[in-house]
Structure formats: structure tokens, C-alpha cells
């Protein structure tokens, strides 16, 4: 454990995981919002919206995340000039968030769409019968029930997102995987130890997350 007793290394380790936390948090919020929107588009009565939603999901769900993040950096930023900040790391961070959210939204959308299928058709029919519009039906009747049905799969998406956020390291952000590489490079005699600490940190945080989502899913499930 001698590597992590040095203050400098410990700071690097903590800052690496702090970036992961921020990436996961920001991307989770954006991906959830956008994913619900995409799901709404995919079940909407307007063919153009359905088409866009389907195209988005199919493109991003089937593109390797590394390429998505690369496009964020070399396409949006380097070629098209989209710049979030003068600070290098802040800029890398937000470009990473853009890529992660666009990618994760596709999975959130599909989770919600499967949730919508668990709501009995009679509910939507009844809503329409009392005069609610499509948007109202979705917002007031269908999505609340669908959301409660998909908590467990959303938990899996969140866990995947947290691990995926290490890929932002490829565009230069000093998150945990880059810090790990750095520490391994500086301490070639402690490779296994460093690896286990980094992998262990993910496990220690994510295993309870899985249980919390399982518990929540049980507690909030719609009893029919």
C-alpha cells in the first residue's frame, strides 16, 4: 500500500475519482432528461419525431463510446470550434459529458420505452376517453407508472455510465484511469496493487449502488 501513503499520489487518486463522480453526475442528469424526451418521441403519434428518436437510439447505441467521445473532442471542439471553457480540463470535462449523455440517453430511452409497455393499454385508453391530450396522457398517466417500473434497469444504466466515464480519459482529462496509468508508470513495482485499489474503488461504490436500486425498484413498484 506504500504508493497510496504518499500525499501526492493520494491527492491524484482522489482527484481522479472526483472527476469520475462529476462526469457521472452531470451525464446522468442530462441523459435522464434527454432519454425521457427520446422515449416520448419514439411513442409519439408524429412520424418525424418517431423517426428521429429511432435514428438517435440506433446510431448511438451501436457506436463504440470511444468513438463518440473522440467525435466530441476532435469533431465538435477541434474541427467545429465548440468550446465550453478556456480551462483545458473544464473543456474536456464538458465535451466528455456531451458524449456520455448522448450515448447514455439512447439506453435510458430504451429502458423507458420498455417501461411504457408495462403500463396496461387500458390506462392510456381511459386517459384519452376523459379528454387528455397525448402529452398529458404521457406526463400524467403513463410516464409516472413507466418510471417506477424501470428503476432497476436505470440502475444498471447508471452503473455502466459510471464505468464508461473513464473513457473521457482518452481526450486528456486526468480521471481515474489516466491517474492509474500515471501511478503505474511511476511505480512499476506495484502494478497489481495499484490496479486492485482502482478496480476496488469502483466495486466498493457500485455494488451498493446496485443494491440500492434493487431495493428502490421493489419499494416503488406499481402493484397491480
Amino acid at each position: 500500500m506504500h504508493v497510496f501513503f504518499e500525499q501526492e499520489n493520494l491527492d491524484a487518486y482522489l482527484s481522479g475519482f472526483f472527476w469520475i463522480l462529476k462526469l457521472t453526475g452531470a451525464s446522468a442528469v442530462l441523459a435522464l432528461g434527454f432519454g425521457v424526451l427520446l422515449a416520448a418521441m419514439r411513442v409519439s403519434p408524429i412520424p418525424v419525431l418517431r423517426g428521429v428518436g429511432t435514428a438517435w437510439v440506433n446510431i448511438f447505441r451501436n457506436t463504440p463510446l470511444t468513438l463518440v467521445i473522440f467525435f466530441s473532442f476532435f469533431g465538435l471542439f477541434s474541427t467545429l470550434g465548440l468550446e465550453f471553457s478556456d480551462e483545458l480540463d473544464t473543456n474536456q470535462f464538458w465535451l466528455g459529458v456531451v458524449g456520455l449523455s448522448a450515448y447514455t440517453a439512447a439506453f435510458v430511452c430504451e429502458a423507458f420505452r420498455s417501461g411504457i409497455n408495462t403500463v396496461p393499454p387500458g390506462q392510456a385508453e381511459a386517459a384519452r376517453a376523459v379528454g387528455l391530450t397525448f402529452a398529458q396522457t404521457l406526463r400524467i398517466v403513463v410516464l409516472p407508472q413507466a418510471g417506477r417500473a424501470v428503476i432497476a434497469p436505470l440502475g444498471s444504466v447508471l452503473i455502466a455510465l459510471c464505468k464508461n466515464s473513464t473513457i473521457v480519459g482518452t481526450i486528456g482529462l486526468l480521471e481515474s484511469s489516466n491517474i492509474m496509468k500515471q501511478l503505474i508508470n511511476d511505480n512499476g513495482d506495484a502494478v497489481i496493487e495499484i490496479f486492485l485499489v482502482f478496480a476496488g474503488t469502483f466495486a466498493v461504490v457500485l455494488i451498493p449502488t446496485g443494491y440500492v436500486f434493487g431495493w428502490l425498484a421493489n419499494k416503488l413498484a406499481v402493484r397491480r
Binding site: 477541434s78 474541427t79 483545458l88 486528456g172 489516466n178 496509468k181 500515471q182 503505474i184 508508470n185 512499476g188
Partner: protein
Amino acid sequence: MRIRRIAAIAAVALAFGVAACNSDSGNNNNAGGSTATGVVGKAQRDKKLIIGVKADQPGLGLQTGTQYEGFDIEIAKIIAKGLGVDAANIEWKTTVSANREPFIQQGTVDLVVATYTINDDRKTKVSFAGPYYVAGQDLLVKTDSTIAGPEQLAGKTVCSVTGSTPAKRIQENYKDTKLQLFDAYSKCLPLLENGQVDAVTTDDIILAGYASQAQYAGKFKVVGKPFSTEPYGIGLKKDDKSSCEKINDILKAAAADGTYKAAWDSTLGKSGTPAPTLDTTKLTNCG
């Protein structure tokens, strides 16, 4: 319970597997028919070598398809030949700046010939033969840039590679400089071309290789004010002293009989730079 038992068996098997690997690599170093140990011993026994090289540095170590070419590659071939290994029996392994020490320490490669600067920090982890070339850290900028040296980097953005000596030097000596880090220099070039970074920094010889690539011809220039001395060495396992000395002898012979010059002329020499003379008095003492 069943699953738990299988997991336990798997864990034990894994532990044995790891132990077996360790003892294997131990044998490789010590046992065998000949008396020679380390890399020399392995070359004599197996007639094979695994050599770590760069894959993205034009002129030095560049991979196209399955072929590697460049000055480092030629040097590696000279050494392999001196150790009795045919060029065809060399297994090339791509390394990046950050994984050279781990690769040597873990035995993934036998030798590293990958623009590998000899320094005291690295000497605590690996041994170095050579140097076979002395480079210097410099800056690659756009042709119309006004940057004329490292003093003018304050507030500017510089691109380099994670874990490399040039990156560390910028971090320590030019603290006002913003540093964009990637895992390969090749990723820095589009950013330099588009103006998101003001300079790319590493050894002059590597930069010259990039500047002379066809797609960037005329766009970049090397500033030409090296601010460090980077002796390129050949990395091998620490304490493999006899192999290190043998490699130094091979380098001496190559300098004397002209194969060193031929290696230069067929690679970096194409840019018009005349072959340097290999100063054999400066070779490491392998200690």
C-alpha cells in the same frame, strides 16, 4: 453454495496460474543450456526476441500494416543481429511512452528501443544500454507562429504525451503553460493544425519526423532551440548487466563498420540531415 465453491476453485486456480507465470519468467532469466543470462541468454537459446518500439513516430518507429520502419527499428535489428537473432525472428511490440517501464519489468518485452530517454528516475526501474542517439526537447509550431522558445510558452497550450519526459519537464519548469495530454503524439497534430494547441513538444528528431509527413508538409516548423539533452537508450531488465554490456559492444561495432550510418541514411537521413557520429565514449557503464 455451488456457485460459491466454483468461485473458490477459480480463485485458487487463478492464484496458481499467477504463481506459475512468475516462476516461468524466473526460469527464462536463469536456466537454459548456455551460461549467458538475461536477454543474451534468451537470444542464444530461443533465437527470438520481443522488442518494444513506437508505432506512431515517423522516421523513428512507424507501423504501416504489420510492418514497422524507422531508425529505432534499424537499431533494434542491428542489436538483434549482434545477439544472433534474424530480423525475421524479432517480434515487434508497440509501446507508448507510459508503458515502457512496466513492459520491461513484467517481461512483456525483452528490449525497448522506443525513443527512450535515459534518466536517473528510470534507471531505478530498468537498465539502459546506449545511448545510440542524443536528441533534445524542442517545440513544433505552425509555420506562422511567433513562439521562438520555451520562455514564450506562458499562458499557451502545449500538447504532449502522458508520462513522457517532455510533459514532465513542461509541468515542472514552465508552470504557466497549459498542458493537453494524450496517449500518442499523433493526436496532437490535428489540434495544432486547427489552432487549439499552440505547440507540440517532444524531442526535436520526432518533431522533425512529423513536420516532414506529406499531409503536414509546409504547415509546421520545428523551433530549433532544444532545451534539454535526451540520450536515447535501449531499455532492458534491471541488473541484466552482461546483456547491457554486450549491446554496448554491438553498438560500438556498428559505429565502426558503418552499419549505424546505413541505418540512419535509410530512415531519418532521407530528410537531408547527415548521419550523426555515435560517440562511443559516452555509452553507459550499465551500472
